[in-house]
Point group: C2
Chain length 146, copies 2
DNA sequence: ATCATTGCAAACACTTTGCATACGC
DNA sequence: GCGTATGCAAAGTGTTTGCAATGAT
Protein backbone atom coordinates (compact mmCIF):
# COMPACT_ATOMS: atom_id res chain seq x y z
CA UNK A 1 0.00 0.00 0.00
CA UNK A 2 2.77 2.31 0.95
CA UNK A 3 4.51 1.41 -2.30
CA UNK A 4 1.53 2.23 -4.43
CA UNK A 5 1.07 5.55 -2.73
CA UNK A 6 4.58 6.51 -3.52
CA UNK A 7 4.09 5.63 -7.19
CA UNK A 8 1.10 7.91 -7.32
CA UNK A 9 3.08 10.56 -5.54
CA UNK A 10 5.77 10.30 -8.17
CA UNK A 11 3.21 10.80 -10.91
CA UNK A 12 1.77 13.76 -9.05
CA UNK A 13 5.19 15.26 -8.84
CA UNK A 14 5.81 14.79 -12.58
CA UNK A 15 2.58 16.53 -13.40
CA UNK A 16 3.23 19.39 -11.02
CA UNK A 17 6.68 19.87 -12.46
CA UNK A 18 5.08 20.42 -15.83
CA UNK A 19 2.62 22.87 -14.39
CA UNK A 20 -0.34 20.51 -14.45
CA UNK A 21 -2.50 20.27 -11.38
CA UNK A 22 -2.89 16.56 -10.70
CA UNK A 23 -6.56 15.65 -10.66
CA UNK A 24 -7.43 12.00 -10.34
CA UNK A 25 -8.43 11.88 -14.01
CA UNK A 26 -5.15 13.37 -15.14
CA UNK A 27 -3.18 11.04 -12.91
CA UNK A 28 -4.97 7.99 -14.28
CA UNK A 29 -4.52 9.04 -17.89
CA UNK A 30 -0.86 9.66 -17.31
CA UNK A 31 -0.43 6.41 -15.42
CA UNK A 32 -2.17 4.52 -18.21
CA UNK A 33 0.15 6.00 -20.80
CA UNK A 34 3.23 5.11 -18.85
CA UNK A 35 2.05 1.57 -18.23
CA UNK A 36 0.75 0.96 -21.74
CA UNK A 37 3.39 2.13 -24.10
CA UNK A 38 1.47 0.94 -27.13
CA UNK A 39 0.47 4.37 -28.40
CA UNK A 40 -3.11 4.23 -27.23
CA UNK A 41 -5.98 6.01 -28.89
CA UNK A 42 -8.37 8.13 -26.87
CA UNK A 43 -10.71 5.21 -26.83
CA UNK A 44 -8.15 2.78 -25.49
CA UNK A 45 -7.30 5.15 -22.67
CA UNK A 46 -10.94 5.77 -21.91
CA UNK A 47 -11.79 2.07 -21.87
CA UNK A 48 -8.70 1.34 -19.84
CA UNK A 49 -9.48 3.62 -16.93
CA UNK A 50 -13.22 4.14 -16.95
CA UNK A 51 -13.68 1.33 -14.43
CA UNK A 52 -11.51 3.13 -11.94
CA UNK A 53 -13.29 6.43 -12.53
CA UNK A 54 -16.91 5.53 -13.28
CA UNK A 55 -17.99 9.10 -13.98
CA UNK A 56 -15.24 9.62 -16.54
CA UNK A 57 -16.25 11.16 -19.83
CA UNK A 58 -14.43 10.88 -23.09
CA UNK A 59 -14.42 14.64 -23.39
CA UNK A 60 -12.28 14.77 -20.30
CA UNK A 61 -9.79 12.40 -21.84
CA UNK A 62 -9.66 14.65 -24.90
CA UNK A 63 -9.18 17.69 -22.69
CA UNK A 64 -6.45 16.03 -20.70
CA UNK A 65 -4.56 14.86 -23.75
CA UNK A 66 -4.76 18.30 -25.29
CA UNK A 67 -3.35 19.75 -22.11
CA UNK A 68 -0.61 17.12 -21.93
CA UNK A 69 0.40 17.89 -25.49
CA UNK A 70 0.54 21.59 -24.77
CA UNK A 71 2.71 20.88 -21.77
CA UNK A 72 4.95 18.52 -23.73
CA UNK A 73 4.12 15.54 -21.63
CA UNK A 74 2.85 13.46 -24.52
CA UNK A 75 3.01 13.63 -28.28
CA UNK A 76 0.28 13.04 -30.80
CA UNK A 77 1.38 10.67 -33.49
CA UNK A 78 -0.25 9.79 -36.73
CA UNK A 79 0.36 6.19 -37.45
CA UNK A 80 -2.21 5.47 -40.03
CA UNK A 81 -5.52 6.47 -41.45
CA UNK A 82 -7.72 8.60 -39.32
CA UNK A 83 -6.88 7.36 -35.89
CA UNK A 84 -4.98 9.67 -33.64
CA UNK A 85 -2.65 7.96 -31.25
CA UNK A 86 -0.77 9.31 -28.28
CA UNK A 87 2.71 8.64 -27.07
CA UNK A 88 4.17 9.47 -23.67
CA UNK A 89 7.16 11.43 -24.77
CA UNK A 90 10.60 10.20 -23.96
CA UNK A 91 13.16 10.34 -26.68
CA UNK A 92 12.99 10.21 -30.50
CA UNK A 93 12.19 6.77 -31.79
CA UNK A 94 10.69 5.18 -34.82
CA UNK A 95 7.41 3.34 -34.94
CA UNK A 96 6.86 -0.03 -36.49
CA UNK A 97 3.30 -1.16 -37.05
CA UNK A 98 2.52 -4.79 -37.75
CA UNK A 99 -0.10 -5.05 -40.48
CA UNK A 100 -1.09 -8.46 -39.16
CA UNK A 101 -1.72 -7.91 -35.46
CA UNK A 102 -1.91 -4.12 -35.44
CA UNK A 103 0.60 -3.68 -32.64
CA UNK A 104 2.96 -0.77 -32.72
CA UNK A 105 6.53 -1.27 -31.61
CA UNK A 106 9.16 1.32 -30.85
CA UNK A 107 12.74 1.24 -31.95
CA UNK A 108 15.47 3.62 -31.03
CA UNK A 109 17.65 3.86 -34.02
CA UNK A 110 20.14 6.54 -34.62
CA UNK A 111 19.48 7.28 -38.23
CA UNK A 112 21.32 10.05 -39.97
CA UNK A 113 18.11 11.79 -40.86
CA UNK A 114 17.48 12.68 -37.24
CA UNK A 115 20.48 14.92 -37.27
CA UNK A 116 19.44 16.92 -40.28
CA UNK A 117 18.49 20.45 -39.32
CA UNK A 118 17.43 21.53 -42.76
CA UNK A 119 16.74 20.07 -46.15
CA UNK A 120 17.19 22.12 -49.28
CA UNK A 121 16.81 25.35 -47.33
CA UNK A 122 13.76 24.25 -45.39
CA UNK A 123 14.03 24.25 -41.62
CA UNK A 124 13.31 20.86 -40.06
CA UNK A 125 11.67 20.93 -36.65
CA UNK A 126 10.46 17.37 -36.37
CA UNK A 127 11.13 14.01 -37.88
CA UNK A 128 8.81 11.04 -37.84
CA UNK A 129 9.69 7.65 -39.21
CA UNK A 130 7.06 5.03 -39.47
CA UNK A 131 7.65 1.52 -40.72
CA UNK A 132 5.09 -1.10 -41.40
CA UNK A 133 5.45 -4.79 -41.97
CA UNK A 134 5.06 -8.03 -40.09
CA UNK A 135 6.36 -8.38 -36.58
CA UNK A 136 8.40 -11.35 -35.50
CA UNK A 137 5.59 -12.81 -33.43
CA UNK A 138 3.28 -12.93 -36.42
CA UNK A 139 6.07 -14.30 -38.60
CA UNK A 140 6.61 -17.09 -36.09
CA UNK A 141 2.96 -17.96 -35.61
CA UNK A 142 1.99 -17.82 -39.20
CA UNK A 143 4.48 -19.34 -41.58
CA UNK A 144 2.38 -18.79 -44.66
CA UNK A 145 2.68 -15.04 -44.58
CA UNK A 146 4.75 -13.60 -47.35
CA UNK B 1 -6.85 20.39 -79.55
CA UNK B 2 -5.08 17.46 -81.02
CA UNK B 3 -2.41 17.77 -78.33
CA UNK B 4 -4.92 17.71 -75.51
CA UNK B 5 -6.64 14.72 -76.91
CA UNK B 6 -3.42 12.80 -76.94
CA UNK B 7 -2.80 13.68 -73.29
CA UNK B 8 -6.20 12.36 -72.37
CA UNK B 9 -5.52 9.30 -74.47
CA UNK B 10 -2.33 8.69 -72.55
CA UNK B 11 -4.19 8.86 -69.28
CA UNK B 12 -6.80 6.49 -70.63
CA UNK B 13 -4.10 4.09 -71.59
CA UNK B 14 -2.50 4.24 -68.15
CA UNK B 15 -5.79 3.46 -66.51
CA UNK B 16 -6.56 0.62 -68.85
CA UNK B 17 -3.15 -0.87 -68.25
CA UNK B 18 -3.98 -1.04 -64.57
CA UNK B 19 -7.32 -2.66 -65.31
CA UNK B 20 -9.39 0.45 -64.65
CA UNK B 21 -12.07 1.39 -67.12
CA UNK B 22 -11.54 5.08 -67.83
CA UNK B 23 -14.70 7.00 -67.02
CA UNK B 24 -14.55 10.75 -67.27
CA UNK B 25 -14.57 11.05 -63.48
CA UNK B 26 -11.68 8.65 -63.10
CA UNK B 27 -9.71 10.40 -65.80
CA UNK B 28 -10.20 13.77 -64.18
CA UNK B 29 -9.22 12.54 -60.73
CA UNK B 30 -6.13 10.92 -62.15
CA UNK B 31 -5.26 13.97 -64.20
CA UNK B 32 -5.70 16.19 -61.17
CA UNK B 33 -3.35 14.05 -59.14
CA UNK B 34 -0.69 14.08 -61.81
CA UNK B 35 -0.94 17.84 -62.25
CA UNK B 36 -1.14 18.67 -58.56
CA UNK B 37 1.54 16.72 -56.82
CA UNK B 38 0.81 18.31 -53.50
CA UNK B 39 -0.80 15.26 -51.90
CA UNK B 40 -4.35 16.44 -52.21
CA UNK B 41 -7.12 15.52 -49.83
CA UNK B 42 -10.42 14.21 -51.14
CA UNK B 43 -11.77 17.69 -50.74
CA UNK B 44 -9.03 19.34 -52.75
CA UNK B 45 -9.57 16.91 -55.60
CA UNK B 46 -13.31 17.38 -55.45
CA UNK B 47 -13.06 21.16 -55.43
CA UNK B 48 -10.47 21.05 -58.16
CA UNK B 49 -12.53 19.16 -60.71
CA UNK B 50 -16.16 19.72 -59.79
CA UNK B 51 -16.38 22.62 -62.23
CA UNK B 52 -15.45 20.35 -65.08
CA UNK B 53 -17.91 17.69 -63.94
CA UNK B 54 -20.81 19.57 -62.38
CA UNK B 55 -22.66 16.43 -61.32
CA UNK B 56 -19.66 15.07 -59.48
CA UNK B 57 -20.24 13.79 -55.98
CA UNK B 58 -17.67 13.44 -53.24
CA UNK B 59 -18.67 9.82 -52.81
CA UNK B 60 -17.45 9.17 -56.32
CA UNK B 61 -14.09 10.70 -55.50
CA UNK B 62 -13.88 8.41 -52.49
CA UNK B 63 -14.83 5.44 -54.63
CA UNK B 64 -12.30 6.29 -57.27
CA UNK B 65 -9.47 6.78 -54.81
CA UNK B 66 -10.27 3.51 -53.13
CA UNK B 67 -10.14 1.81 -56.51
CA UNK B 68 -6.88 3.55 -57.44
CA UNK B 69 -5.30 2.43 -54.19
CA UNK B 70 -6.40 -1.15 -54.79
CA UNK B 71 -4.90 -0.99 -58.26
CA UNK B 72 -1.66 0.57 -56.98
CA UNK B 73 -2.10 3.74 -58.92
CA UNK B 74 -2.01 5.99 -55.88
CA UNK B 75 -1.02 5.67 -52.27
CA UNK B 76 -2.80 6.94 -49.20
CA UNK B 77 -0.48 8.80 -46.93
CA UNK B 78 -0.99 9.97 -43.42
CA UNK B 79 0.65 13.27 -42.99
CA UNK B 80 -1.00 14.58 -39.93
CA UNK B 81 -4.03 14.52 -37.74
CA UNK B 82 -7.24 13.37 -39.23
CA UNK B 83 -6.87 14.29 -42.85
CA UNK B 84 -6.17 11.56 -45.36
CA UNK B 85 -4.03 12.60 -48.27
CA UNK B 86 -3.33 10.89 -51.54
CA UNK B 87 -0.20 10.58 -53.55
CA UNK B 88 0.12 9.48 -57.17
CA UNK B 89 2.65 6.75 -56.74
CA UNK B 90 6.04 7.08 -58.31
CA UNK B 91 9.06 6.24 -56.23
CA UNK B 92 9.84 6.30 -52.52
CA UNK B 93 10.29 9.78 -51.18
CA UNK B 94 9.98 11.63 -47.93
CA UNK B 95 7.40 14.25 -47.14
CA UNK B 96 8.06 17.60 -45.61
CA UNK B 97 5.14 19.57 -44.31
CA UNK B 98 5.43 23.26 -43.57
CA UNK B 99 3.64 24.08 -40.34
CA UNK B 100 3.24 27.66 -41.49
CA UNK B 101 1.70 27.38 -44.95
CA UNK B 102 0.59 23.75 -44.81
CA UNK B 103 2.21 22.80 -48.08
CA UNK B 104 3.75 19.40 -48.44
CA UNK B 105 6.99 19.01 -50.33
CA UNK B 106 8.65 15.87 -51.59
CA UNK B 107 12.29 15.01 -51.31
CA UNK B 108 14.07 12.06 -52.72
CA UNK B 109 16.73 11.19 -50.28
CA UNK B 110 18.56 7.97 -50.16
CA UNK B 111 18.56 7.31 -46.48
CA UNK B 112 19.99 4.12 -45.12
CA UNK B 113 16.71 3.21 -43.49
CA UNK B 114 15.09 2.63 -46.84
CA UNK B 115 17.38 -0.30 -47.46
CA UNK B 116 16.57 -2.05 -44.24
CA UNK B 117 14.60 -5.21 -44.84
CA UNK B 118 14.08 -6.08 -41.23
CA UNK B 119 14.55 -4.58 -37.83
CA UNK B 120 15.17 -6.77 -34.80
CA UNK B 121 13.58 -9.75 -36.54
CA UNK B 122 10.53 -7.85 -37.79
CA UNK B 123 9.97 -7.82 -41.51
CA UNK B 124 9.77 -4.32 -42.98
CA UNK B 125 7.44 -3.88 -45.92
CA UNK B 126 7.11 -0.13 -46.04
CA UNK B 127 8.92 2.91 -44.81
CA UNK B 128 7.45 6.36 -44.39
CA UNK B 129 9.44 9.37 -43.38
CA UNK B 130 7.68 12.57 -42.60
CA UNK B 131 9.38 15.77 -41.63
CA UNK B 132 7.77 18.95 -40.47
CA UNK B 133 9.13 22.41 -40.11
CA UNK B 134 9.15 25.70 -41.93
CA UNK B 135 9.69 25.82 -45.66
CA UNK B 136 12.08 28.23 -47.28
CA UNK B 137 9.33 30.38 -48.68
CA UNK B 138 7.83 30.98 -45.28
CA UNK B 139 11.27 31.60 -43.83
CA UNK B 140 11.90 34.22 -46.45
CA UNK B 141 8.53 35.94 -46.17
CA UNK B 142 8.36 35.97 -42.43
CA UNK B 143 11.60 36.79 -40.71
CA UNK B 144 10.16 36.72 -37.23
CA UNK B 145 9.54 33.02 -37.23
CA UNK B 146 11.71 31.04 -34.91
C1' DA C 1 -30.52 -6.33 -71.32
C1' DT C 2 -26.85 -6.51 -68.44
C1' DC C 3 -23.42 -5.06 -65.67
C1' DA C 4 -20.58 -1.38 -63.82
C1' DT C 5 -20.42 3.37 -62.30
C1' DT C 6 -22.29 7.27 -60.30
C1' DG C 7 -24.27 10.14 -56.76
C1' DC C 8 -27.73 11.29 -53.24
C1' DA C 9 -28.98 10.69 -48.45
C1' DA C 10 -28.30 8.64 -44.35
C1' DA C 11 -25.31 6.44 -41.17
C1' DC C 12 -20.89 6.37 -38.79
C1' DA C 13 -16.77 7.37 -36.19
C1' DC C 14 -13.95 10.63 -34.22
C1' DT C 15 -13.25 15.14 -32.33
C1' DT C 16 -14.55 19.76 -30.75
C1' DT C 17 -17.59 23.18 -28.59
C1' DG C 18 -20.95 25.28 -25.22
C1' DC C 19 -22.36 25.31 -20.99
C1' DA C 20 -23.98 23.86 -16.43
C1' DT C 21 -22.37 21.26 -12.50
C1' DA C 22 -19.01 19.80 -9.22
C1' DC C 23 -14.51 20.11 -7.06
C1' DG C 24 -10.36 21.85 -4.66
C1' DC C 25 -7.93 25.31 -2.30
C1' DG D 1 -16.41 31.61 -2.45
C1' DC D 2 -13.74 31.58 -6.56
C1' DG D 3 -11.49 29.75 -10.20
C1' DT D 4 -10.59 25.52 -12.39
C1' DA D 5 -11.81 20.85 -13.99
C1' DT D 6 -15.30 17.85 -15.37
C1' DG D 7 -18.78 15.82 -18.21
C1' DC D 8 -23.12 15.83 -20.69
C1' DA D 9 -25.32 16.96 -24.99
C1' DA D 10 -25.02 18.90 -29.36
C1' DA D 11 -22.53 20.31 -33.30
C1' DG D 12 -18.83 19.63 -36.62
C1' DT D 13 -15.77 16.94 -39.77
C1' DG D 14 -14.27 13.36 -42.58
C1' DT D 15 -15.53 8.86 -44.34
C1' DT D 16 -18.46 4.88 -45.42
C1' DT D 17 -22.73 2.50 -46.69
C1' DG D 18 -27.27 1.50 -49.00
C1' DC D 19 -29.51 1.98 -52.82
C1' DA D 20 -31.76 3.94 -56.79
C1' DA D 21 -30.66 6.24 -61.15
C1' DT D 22 -27.70 6.49 -64.86
C1' DG D 23 -24.46 5.09 -68.41
C1' DA D 24 -21.87 1.98 -71.41
C1' DT D 25 -21.58 -2.05 -74.28
Amino acid sequence: MKKEESTIDKLKKSLKEKGISPSIQRLKVYEYMLLHRNHPSVDMIYEGIKDEIPTLSKTTVYNILKLFIKKNLVKAITIEGNELRYDAYTKPHIHFKCIKCGNIYDFEIDDEIYNKKEIDGNKILECNIYLSGICKNCLKNNKNLI
